[in-house]
């Protein structure tokens, strides 16, 4: 995630829209790309996307607000998700959630004061045989105890992790 000036932001959004608008059902691919590039979907991107796709701003706003993935405010350096679903509950995710909130001093959908972590709930990471599970960036961790949770935070803070979105080229 790079820091961008406002005009920079808009030119990037324009480039993404121009690049993807020909796709059938282009809105979700565009929103994903904007979020992956800027870290969020800024409000001033909405008119540009609407114009590019020849739909109303209300329609764009409606889609952004429908999906959990499209945050409209910047988040911390690391998006930290804890699985709240049943298979992880059976392995102690409720205790892990409690520990994470205490440890970070924030609740879900909040960012730590130092701007490092934004805590979010997630409903299943498909890692259900080895819960509780946590996702940070594009890395998923299994059997996360309090100690392992601390280790995940430490690693995020000490080693620069790859924040580039996973795309075809990364394989």
């Amino acid at each position: 995630m790079l820091q961008a000036t406002p005009s920079d932001t808009l030119s990037r959004v324009k480039a993404i829209v121009a690049d993807l608008k020909h796709k059938p059902g282009a809105l979700l691919p565009i929103l994903h790309e904007v979020r992956d590039t800027l870290g969020y979907v800024p409000e001033n991107a909405v008119p540009l996307i609407a114009e590019g796709l020849q739909i109303t701003r209300a329609e764009v706003h409606g889609v952004i607000s429908f999906y959990h993935d499209f945050n409209t405010q910047p988040i911390g350096n690391h998006r930290l998700q804890i699985c709240r679903a049943e298979a992880c509950q059976a392995r102690g995710s409720r205790e892990l959630e409690h520990y994470a909130r205490e440890r970070l001093g924030i609740d879900y959908h909040q960012t730590t004061r130092d701007g490092e972590f934004t805590l979010e709930p997630v409903y299943c990471l498909g890692n259900c045989a080895t819960g509780p599970s946590v996702r940070i960036g594009n890395h998923i961790h299994g059997r996360v105890s309090a100690e392992r949770f601390d280790a995940i935070l430490d690693k995020a803070l000490t080693v620069p992790i790859d924040l580039e979105p996973l795309t075809e080229g990364d394989a």
Partner: protein, 533 residues
């Protein structure tokens, strides 16, 4: 040269497989050993991940679960020769009873091959089904799928052959299509539902990560069968590794001529693209998925029209689950009859059961229908991981019922489960030990529905929020009898008044928790409410 296998799979990686692979490579380099590390898919024996295998004259020998810090000792103990002696030595992989006793059709190649190697896929029978299909007429392909008795594996269990027939017979230029964009006129689509959102399920993910060409091949065959030249895999964004592997596999399949404008020089075209969801459980419902694919809010559509007639972009569309499409290549290669020979009653073929939650040995167990839950929980699952008694088991995802021990001898097939008000769904099995609070689980079912409801119909959108409140009042002993009655009424309203399964089935976990675990809803004296004090 020595060949080692270290899985590149979400679960294996979540437990340190990448670090194990790096440690092994470094240690081999330091010792000057010529080591070839294959990042295979997982065998689905997740309790043994990271499962490292070494190729020997006797076959592949397994070690697991291997942590990065185990690597030096394993090398000293002779892992590269497949030597026994180390505590993590498991013997021949194929002889591990958990794996040996399965009937693997869908997961026959999982963990054996390098997922993105086309040569590996071909060497293990891959693309035979596509070759067979290219020599058949559309109707012959559809007839073969009908013969197999294959039913949708996403949960609804609708016969796949009948769905395909409807799309084959549909006229893509039908008159009621004016609203659709003319750019899509004349087209049909194949859409793979890879929005595997049910907690306790990962079979779709395992297919996509361990054997992606099987899905690609199945979709290409579906395209040939109904006359569709474009396919989409609608993948949930919670599966970042599956996305990378699928995109890699698709690019390689295009380069090798299995996808594109001229499949295997047949003159027939099929193009495939991965589309990412955006964190909405409801998009696993097929009509929501289609709206989402079209770039809209993922709201449920009223049926009819059926997606088979008016699906993606208003055109006739096959929407099938990953496992359904993945079953197609072997049906085509071996014949529908061979597939139908597995199973019981109207549940033909195999189903990959996914053992999850509080179980000692979690993983994928693919078997013909008809095994009981008890056998799965104890013979395969090894009982609870915590060592405490298993108390409740949720089958079929967050909309499935919680089953008490008295029901664990019911054979797992669609009809037998329906008879006792339960669902097999996608085959996910979540076990809870006796520390579970079933009132809390019922509350979560309502809360989940409130968070994930698409909001189109009132019972689901509002009823779920009211459900959380009512359960909270029951817990606090506020007018408990009246509130229990209200909760039942609310469940009726959700069940009968909702457009789709989200609202319609949320009562399953709530009612089963109430009915089979009434003690957890009983009056508590520990925390009296303000009024009672």
């Amino acid at each position: 040269m020595i060949t080692l296998y270290v899985p590149r799979d979400t679960t294996a990686v979540s437990l340190g497989a990448d670090d194990v692979a790096i440690s092994l490579a470094r240690a081999a380099e330091a010792k000057g050993i010529d080591l070839h590390i294959v990042r295979n898919g997982s065998r689905g024996l997740f309790w043994l991940e990271p499962l490292v295998e070494v190729e020997t004259d006797q076959g592949r020998i397994a070690y697991g679960p291997v942590m990065p810090e185990d690597v030096p000792a394993l090398l000293d103990a002779g892992i590269l020769e497949g030597a026994a002696g180390h505590r993590l030595h498991l013997g021949l992989t194929e002889e591990i009873p958990y794996l040996k006793n399965q009937q693997r059709l869908t997961f026959a190649r999982a963990g054996i091959t390098d997922p993105v190697s086309i040569d590996d896929y071909r060497a293990h029978g891959g693309f035979k089904g596509l070759e067979v299909a290219l020599a058949k007429t559309r109707q012959q392909i559809v007839d073969e799928v009908k013969t197999s008795g294959l039913r949708g594996r996403g949960g609804a269990a609708f016969p796949a052959g009948i769905k395909w027939q409807t799309v084959l017979d549909a006229n893509p230029r039908s008159d009621d299509n004016e609203s659709a964009n003319s750019r899509y006129s004349g087209q049909k689509f194949i859409v793979c539902n890879a929005d595997e959102g049910d907690s306790g399920t990962f079979a779709d993910r395992l297919v996509m990560e361990a054997d992606p060409y099987m899905l690609i091949e199945g979709m290409a065959i579906a395209g040939l069968a109904v006359g569709a030249e474009t396919g989409y895999i609608y993948l949930r964004s919670e599966y970042p590794l599956a996305q990378v592997i699928l995109n890699d596999a698709i690019a390689r399949a295009e380069a090798a001529g299995y996808l594109g404008d001229n499949i295997l020089s047949s003159g027939k075209a099929f193009h495939l693209e991965v589309r990412l969801g955006a964190g909405a459980y409801i998009c696993g419902e097929e009509t929501s998925l289609l709206d989402s694919l079209e770039g809209k809010r993922g709201q449920v559509r009223v049926k009819p029209p059926l997606p088979a007639l008016k699906g993606a972009f208003g055109q006739p569309t096959v929407v099938n689950n990953v496992l359904t499409l993945a079953a197609v290549p072997s049906i085509m290669a071996e014949g529908g009859r061979a597939y139908a020979d597995y199973g019981m009653g109207r549940s033909r073929g195999t189903l990959p059961f996914q053992l999850t939650g509080n179980l000692e040995r979690g993983g994928v167990v693919e078997l013909a229908f008809g095994i009981t839950l008890r056998e799965l929980l104890y013979d395969y699952g090894g009982g609870s991981a915590s060592g405490r008694p298993i108390r409740a088991v949720q089958v079929g995802g967050p909309l499935g019922a919680y089953m008490p021990e008295s029901q664990w001898d019911t054979p797992l097939d669609y009809e037998a489960f329906a008879d006792i008000g339960a669902v097999v769904g996608h085959g996910g099995i979540v076990a809870f030990d006796d520390t579970v609070d079933m009132l809390e689980q019922a509350r979560f079912a309502m809360e989940f529905c409130a968070v994930e409801s698409c909001g189109k119909c009132t019972p689901c959108r509002i009823g779920s929020t009211r459900g959380v409140e009512v359960i909270d009042r029951i817990r606090l002993n506020e007018n408990r009898d009246a509130n229990l009655t209200l909760l039942n009424d609310l469940c009726d309203t959700l069940e009968y008044g909702s457009l789709c399964a989200m609202g319609g089935m949320t009562p399953n976990p709530v009612r089963s928790a109430l009915h089979y675990f009434p003690d957890d809803f009983a009056r508590t004296t520990a925390s009296p409410t303000t009024e009672e004090r």
